[in-house]
Symmetry: C3
Subunit: 292 residues, 3 copies
């Protein structure tokens, strides 16, 4: 693995390796890197948890982090992403973590860029480090992906999390279903209501309703969405005994999920955040080690 670009570029074996290493790191294993690497986080879109999680993971593997203010960079002067990244490579960086609004922005980087590129979200494309932490969270809970029933509810068409997770989960043997309004199903076939999915799912993964993208076509209010597609208190009560709730966050409390369920017993929302640091340490370590 030379970069982490999308879940389509990573094999089941590589997934297993990263999850195993994350577990070792979580158990306190020391970093296997023999020197300090230099890294920058290029977030051209706002982020709290992904950026902060990478910042933490980088420090935990002993990396030096060079600050990069995307909103105040030469991108404003029309510099191409390639030239920005080539500049950072020339300055001596070993790796960049990038979030960018253009789908598959990384393709223009593959020819000519030698440093490590880790995709932290590309447009309506993928978000592979989120997907790996989701897999890690599920594996810790159930030990396997085989025949697990996973239901993803929400704004599927705009969600890089949904796209990343479904590729990986299906390949690993899980059954994935979708729940959302017809306009939001995108390339997937979704249920337009919960049907019997509440009672049969092992994992219910809620996605953020991206209000900022739906002003024009908002045919229903937040209350309507919650009643029809959200995880209400009533629905939570019908979930299987060991079933868990996931959400990549940020959460719209009272829309995708009732506010009182965010930290309920079966919620793994903040565990996902916690797991993300170990996953990102494992990703960085695995790729940088391979580049030594």
């Amino acid at each position: 693995m030379k970069n982490l670009l999308s879940m389509e570029h990573i094999s089941n074996e590589e997934i297993a390796t990263i999850l195993k290493r994350a577990a070792e790191l979580e158990a306190g294993a020391p970093s296997q890197l023999d020197r300090s690497y230099t890294v920058a986080n290029l977030f051209f879109e706002p982020s709290t948890r992904t950026k902060t999680s990478f910042e933490m993971a980088e420090r935990k593997i002993g990396a030096t982090v060079i600050p990069f203010e995307a909103g105040f960079s030469s991108a404003l002067k029309g510099e191409t992403l390639y030239d920005t990244v080539k500049t950072l490579e020339s300055i001596g960086l070993d790796a960049v973590v990038i979030r960018h609004k253009v789908d598959a922005y990384y393709e223009e980087l593959l020819k000519g860029i030698n440093l490590v590129v880790i995709n932290a979200g590309d447009g309506a494309g993928q978000h592979p480090s989120q997907s790996l932490l989701d897999l890690y969270t599920i594996q810790k809970e159930f030990g396997t992906f085989e025949n697990l029933n996973v239901t993803i509810a929400g704004d599927i068409s705009h969600s890089r999390v949904a796209k990343s997770d479904v590729y990986a989960l299906r390949r690993l043997g899980a059954n994935v279903n979708f729940v959302c309004p017809k306009e939001w199903q995108g390339e997937f076939e979704a249920h337009q209501g919960w049907d019997d999915l509440i009672e049969t799912s092992d994992v219910i993964m809620l996605l953020r309703v991206q209000h900022e993208r739906h002003e024009a076509d908002a045919n229903f209010s937040k209350e309507d969405y919650h009643a029809q597609y959200g995880l209400t208190i009533e629905r939570e009560r019908q979930m299987k005994d060991k079933a868990i709730i996931m959400h990549p966050a940020p959460v719209n409390r009272g829309v995708e999920i009732d506010s009182s369920l965010v930290e309920c017993k079966r919620s793994r929302i903040f565990d996902q955040v916690r797991n993300g640091v170990f996953i990102r340490m494992a990703i960085l370590e695995t790729i940088l080690k391979g580049r030594m």
Copy 2:
């Protein structure tokens, strides 16, 4: 002391402990922390000196500082402050320093958040670390607060510094008076002119006129304000021999204070900044140690 939220939440004994520890740190005492803590500074309002001072203090106690760009975070996507802070806790942070425009924003954090919260300014509420550095500056000068005459001049009603300082100073035995236009006195009884306060004050503390908040009700020009409420060259000449000038800054030169007085012999304006680093080291160390 589990957090630092306002001067109302901190006892005289705790104040004394922090001032004493700041003096030791200023004299070169090594940090008493046994490990490196991880901290983030969440400034949702602009700041130079408070943020930079905390950044410096954090590094001086050996902390790892995780960058947080408030203006480019998930707060833009509507995430609640609670969820942002809970996320940072899940990522592994030990403490957050927060400036936020909402009064007492920290109340929603007290239930459910376990990491250390240090208030670096809440709306028109308090600014306790500034207050502690003001106290430290006064104590270094006079050795005591008993019967000291302190006059605070300026925009009292919008000033978290005024509110924090007056609670603490009166409790510690000082006489505090106010000078400002009637519209700006807020909950306090102020003099609408200097009267005899120039000649009788040991400490004259000037506050920034917050032009950005007074466009509508600006009944006087900067020149008028300076003449009536500012510290002019003439007024400075009438001050007591050992009296000092303070200002939390940023300063509007020629408004609250004549530009030539900013670095005059009795000005402690930049000493306050210097003292702030030791006070913030003491605050962080004291609270983190208590959490060990």
Copy 3:
């Protein structure tokens, strides 16, 4: 050398010392500093390569870097640059690197500020660290500046790079010519076309067309500019055997230079970036050592 303000404030000997030290650092020489210094980068204008290069250089000499978000600082509240820098000095910083839109902004700092000031670009003034890295790049190539033919093409009047480089290069014995539209020549006498300069130049230095400053007087399209003043594929073929191409970047591909030439054999564009880190290490080290 107490500060680095402009190429007019630095002697030929000082230039030679810095270039020599950069070469040693590039060859792996350890830093000569005996303690860790604390530095901040105050970029009041957007930057990728200069800011990131300083961030890297600072870490490589073992400095502690205090983050400073210019776009979110007290400058917004009307604080003078002097007061901002004096504040950072009081907080304990040893040096500041400043980019600011005001020409010779540093003059107001010289009286009263004791910490090291390194100019990373002042308005339409100078950009001395860029100039030094340009000199280093040229020296590595040709060993000397005597009688070298250097042609600078582009927006001369707005370019701090052009102004910094021409002062230094002429003093060091190079012949410097300019190519640009008449409206852009500023204080210099420029050719309004390439004439025979392609065939006779050892160094062709292209400058970015600053579209953001030329909306009103844009008498020609990007295509016209490229045809008349840009480095086209045809022109590159006529260059001398050992002649090199330089550009301070960011590059407008297809305007100043054909996109395919940016990484061609004679381009030193990304070498300039690489060299910049060693030059900035040498600058910081030389000045801080002198202040010990």
